[in-house]
Symmetry: C3
Subunit: 397 residues, 3 copies
C-alpha cells in the first residue's frame, strides 16, 4: 500500500461534493445513450446495462423501445436469445412470456394463452428517444414521473465561439454523427474526469495525430483565476463546467519544465475547448479538427465498468458533404483520434481504477492545483442529484 511521507488530505474538499463520492453506480433519472441507430435493425433486440439496469432495446415498426431485460417468470434475459413474434411485443425465448412494448404488460404466453397471469403482470419499460443516429434511454426510478427533456442531459448549445461558427449541438438538424462505443474497466467518474482534466496532457505527448499535424501542445495549462473553469447552470437545462481555453486572460500554457528538461512540442496552434456536463458528457469543440465537435459519454454500467462513447458531429446536408465527412471519419478521425489519441486516455482510466477500487481512492487521493476544474466538475455534479443508481444485486439465501 502506498503511504505518503508527507501529510496531505482532501477530506475537507471531499465534503463539498459528498453526493458525487456516493455516486459510484452513477446518477439515476437521466438520459443516457443506449445504442447507435445503425446497431439496431428493425425487428431486432440488443441487451445493454446502464447503472445496473439490464435493458432490452427493441426496434419494432421502425421505433426503438426500451424494456426490462429480465423476464418476470424465471428471470432470464430476453436479449439472451431474441424472439420477436409480432410487432409491438417482445417474447421470452424460454417459456414464451410475451410483453407489450408500450407498457410492459404480459399480453400472452405462447404455450398457454389462457394463463391467469396474462393481463395481471408485466415488466417495466423505459422512455426512449432517437435523434440524429443515437438512441437515448431515460433510466432511473420507476416512479420518477415525466422525465425532463433530453436536452437537459446533453451539453448546452454553443453560442460564444470566439473564432468560428459554433460547433453543432447533438439535437441540431442538418448534422451527421459518427462514432463508436465500448465497455471499459473503470468507474464512470474516473473516465469523466480524465476527459476534462487539464493536467493529463502528458499521456498524449507522443500521439501520432499530434505529431502528424505538428500541433502545438503545451505541457500543461494553468488557470490564472478561479473563474478559469466556468460553471454553467441553466435552469431546467444543462449543468456543466467549461475550461475557458478561449480566454487568454484566464489560462497560461506551460511550455517548458527545466527540472525534467522537457519542452512543449509542435508548432501549429489549434483552438479547442473542453466542457463536461451532467450526467457525464464531454464536449470538445473543434476537435480533432476545426468545425467538427467530439462528444464523449461515460455511461455507468456498474461501479467498476462504464460504456465509453465517442462520437463526432459535423454540419452536412448535401450528399457530397456527407461523403466527404464519412471519408475523413473512416480514414482519419476514427483511427487517429477516436482510437489512436483516445486510447491513451483509455489506458489511463483503466490504470486508475485499481487504486479507487482497492484503496478507497475517493478518500485517498491528493489533488493538486491543476485539479481546479476537476473539483469544479465534482461540485457541479453534486449540486442537484436527481437520484443514485444502486447495486441491484441481492444476497443469496
Amino acid at each position: 500500500m502506498t503511504t505518503s511521507s508527507h501529510s496531505g488530505s482532501s477530506a475537507g474538499v471531499t465534503r463539498q461534493y459528498a453526493p458525487y463520492v456516493k455516486a459510484d453506480w452513477g446518477y439515476a433519472n437521466h438520459w443516457y445513450p443506449a445504442l447507435l441507430s445503425d446497431e439496431l435493425e428493425d425487428g431486432t433486440v440488443k441487451g445493454i446495462t446502464i447503472g445496473g439496469h439490464d435493458i432490452a432495446v427493441r426496434r419494432s415498426a421502425g421505433k426503438a423501445y426500451a424494456i426490462s431485460d429480465r423476464c418476470i417468470h424465471r428471470g432470464v434475459k430476453l436479449s439472451a436469445k431474441p424472439m420477436c413474434l409480432s410487432e409491438g411485443t417482445i417474447t421470452c425465448w424460454y417459456h414464451g412470456f410475451t410483453y407489450g412494448l408500450e407498457d410492459g404488460s404480459l399480453t400472452t404466453i405462447v404455450g398457454n394463452p389462457d394463463d391467469s397471469l396474462i393481463g395481471n403482470a408485466g415488466i417495466r419499460t423505459y422512455p426512449a428517444e432517437e435523434v440524429n443516429g443515437i438512441i437515448y434511454v431515460f433510466v432511473g426510478d420507476e416512479d420518477y414521473g415525466t422525465p425532463p427533456p433530453l436536452s437537459s442531459d446533453l451539453p448546452a448549445r454553443v453560442t460564444n465561439d470566439p473564432n468560428n461558427t459554433p460547433v453543432p449541438h447533438l439535437l441540431d438538424e442538418g448534422i451527421v454523427i459518427r462514432g463508436i462505443h465500448r465497455k471499459l474497466v473503470g468507474n464512470w467518474r474516473l473516465a469523466a474526469e480524465n476527459g476534462l482534466d487539464p493536467g493529463h496532457l502528458l499521456v498524449h505527448w507522443d500521439n501520432q495525430i499530434l505529431v502528424a499535424l505538428d500541433r502545438a501542445l503545451p505541457l500543461g495549462v494553468n488557470a490564472l483565476t478561479d473563474s478559469a473553469t466556468e460553471e454553467i447552470d441553466i435552469p431546467d437545462g444543462p449543468k456543466g463546467v467549461m475550461n475557458r481555453y478561449d480566454r487568454p486572460d484566464l489560462y497560461q500554457p506551460v511550455l517548458d519544465n527545466p527540472k525534467v528538461n522537457m519542452k512543449a512540442r509542435g508548432t501549429v496552434p489549434h483552438y479547442f475547448r473542453t466542457s463536461l456536463w451532467v450526467p457525464g458528457v464531454l464536449m470538445v469543440e473543434h476537435w480533432p479538427i476545426t468545425d467538427v465537435v467530439q462528444y464523449e459519454f461515460y455511461v455507468p454500467i456498474d461501479d467498476h465498468h462504464h460504456e465509453y462513447w465517442e462520437v463526432i458531429a459535423t454540419r452536412a446536408t448535401t450528399d457530397e458533404d456527407i461523403a466527404e465527412f464519412n471519408f475523413k471519419y473512416d480514414n482519419f478521425m476514427l483511427p487517429l483520434a477516436l482510437e489512436g489519441f483516445n486510447n491513451s486516455d483509455v489506458f489511463a482510466r483503466e490504470a486508475t481504477e485499481e487504486h479507487y477500487t482497492r484503496f478507497d481512492g475517493w478518500n485517498n487521493e491528493m489533488l493538486c492545483d491543476m485539479d481546479y476544474s476537476i473539483i469544479a466538475w465534482r461540485k457541479m455534479a453534486a449540486r442537484y442529484p436527481r437520484g443514485f443508481f444502486e447495486s441491484p444485486f441481492q444476497d443469496e439465501d
Copy 2:
C-alpha cells in the same frame, strides 16, 4: 434490476416447500452417479465433487471404491497425481500417506513406516455400487448409518406403459446403457426443473431432431386437472412426480396462439412421458425414440454448478442388438438428442442461473399456471429430506 410494474409474489407457495429452497447445495444422504464404468480403468483414480464432497474414485482389483479426496496430512487431493502402490490402497503422492480403501485407515507412510499416526488416523470412505455401466456413490453425513437401497434413489420401474413394452429400469438385467456427463454452470434445481418443465417447449421449437423426424410438438401442454402431475411416493422407495401425458383426459395440447401468430409444427405424433425423482433424476420414456428411455441426473457439485448426466438405456442382449443400438447411439441419439436437442436446455439453465444467484430468484420468481408440475416436484422433493449438503468452505484466519 427488474422490477415488476404489477404486484406478484410466490412467497405463500414458497413456504410449502421451504426445505427445497434451502437445498442450494443439494440433498445429502442419497446415491448419485459418480462415473461411467468405462471412465475408470483398473488401477486408476479419478476425482469428482458431489455436494461439496471431494471424492476420489479408485478401481482396485476390478472393484470401484470411493474415498475422501483430501489427505489428512496437508490436505492435498489424492487425485491430483494418482498413486496406487498396492491393491486395496491409495497413496498420497506428496508424503506417501497410504489409506486402505475399505475403511480409509492410514495403513502406512511410504517414507516412515513406523510413524505414530499409522493405525490412529484415516479419512472417510463412501459406499459405492456399480450397476450396468454406472458407478454410484452414496454421499452425505458420515454418521448416517446404513444407506437405503440404490433403487430408492432412481426412478421407479415403469409398469403402466399404455402403448408399448415399458421402458427398462436402470437396474434391470439385459440392458445396455450409453451416455455422457459434463459440468455446467447452474444450480442443480434449475436443471432438474428444466427437465420436467411442460412450459419450455419453445426452446426446442427449431431443434433438428424434431424437424428431421417431423415430430408433432405442441406449443404447450396444459393440465386440465390438479392430478395431471401425479405424485408417486413409494414407501421405502422412489419419490417423484410424473406428467401423465399418457392420459388425454388430463392434458390438452396448445396448437395455436393467434396473439403471436404461432402454430405448432410437425405432423408425426409421438408418445413420451416425463417424470422427475428425488434426489434429481429425470426419466423420459420412449425418448428420443420408442422403446428406449432417457435418464438424466442433475448432480449438485456446489451451489452454482451441477454435473449433467444424460444416459440412454435399451433392452439388448445379443451382440447384434447391442451393435445396432451402439450404431444408432453414436450416429443419431448422441449428436441429435443428447447434444443437439439437450443443448437447448443447457443454454436455458445456464441463462437462468444469473437471476437466481444475483437476484435471489427463489424468492423473486413469478410462477404461472404452466408451473403446476414444477410446484408438485418442489413439494415432493421437500417432503422427506434426508439431509442437506452445506458449503464445506471455512473462513480463513
Copy 3:
C-alpha cells in the same frame, strides 16, 4: 470436505508458533530479493509486489532505488508506463508528478512547475542493496528505523562442512550467481516448508536428474533424536533451522517399505544438507552437485501468492571458471534442477494451497513424526517477529 474418521488435532502444537500462523501476508521489516541485477538495465523501471507493498525499482546512474509504486495524486502505478526524464527522479506518466529517488519527495509536476504541492508531498522509499547480481529491498513499516544488516536475513555462512570446502555465502566475494524467479500460487509458508520438508521425497521419486545421475535417494529420512534439526539463533544475525543430514548419528534413511512394496532407488551416494532461514530462505548445500549451493527465496506477494526464487552460487573468478559454470548452469542445472526437479515442488505447493485457503488448513492439518523439522522451523520463525505484513486493501465506500 475432508472429515477424519479418527480424532486428531494439532491445536496444542499450533499455540507454540501462533505468530507464524498469523503471518499469512509474510513477515514485515526484512530484506527480500526484488530483482536480479540483469533484469534492471540502467534508466529502466520494474514494478514488483512484496507483502502487499507495490514497489517500483528504478536504476538511475547505475544505482538501484526502490520507491512506492503508487503516485500520490490519483494512485496509478508508476511502473505501468515507466517515465524517467532525469537521473535521480521518476515521473508519473499520467500527470507528470516527479519524485526524487532518494527521499521520495515531489520535486516537480511536468505541466505545472509552480504547483503548491511541490516540496510538500511525496511517496515513501525503501532501502535497497545490490550484491552479487541480486537487488534486495527492505520492506516493512515506514517508521521502522535503521534496517538490520542484509546478512541477518540470509542464511548463515557455513563453517562446519564435513567433507568439502564450505559452500559460498550470498555476500561472499569471488562468486557467481545465476537463477530465476517466478510468481506462483500458494502461501509463502507452504513453499518454505516444502523446501525444508524431509518427508516429501516421494514427489522427486522419478525426477530425471536423479535417474540420470543414479543418485541414491531414500524413501524418507527419519530423525533419531530431537536435535536432528538444529536451531540456529545468532544474536543480531541469521535465525534458522538445519536438518543435520551430515550427522549419521542423528538420521536414519528409510530404504524399504514392504507394505507398499517400495524400495529406494539409485546407487550413487551424495552428500547435501538443507536449512531454512527467517524470513523464508532455503539453503541446500552441495546441490544439485558438490561445491555449488542452491538458495531459494519464498517472497510473499500476497496471502495466496509468492515469488519463488531459485539461485545457484559457486566460487569462480577466472573467465574460464565462470564460462564453465555458466555452461553447466544453462545446459544442466537450469533445465534439470531449477526447472525439472523443482517443478515437482511447484506442483506440490500449488496443490496444497486449496486446502489452506478454503479449509483453514493451519488449523486443519494433521502433522506426523516426519514433520519434526517443519515444527522446529515454525517455532524459530515465530520467535522474534519484527512485524507482519497485512492486507493493504481497504473497503470501498
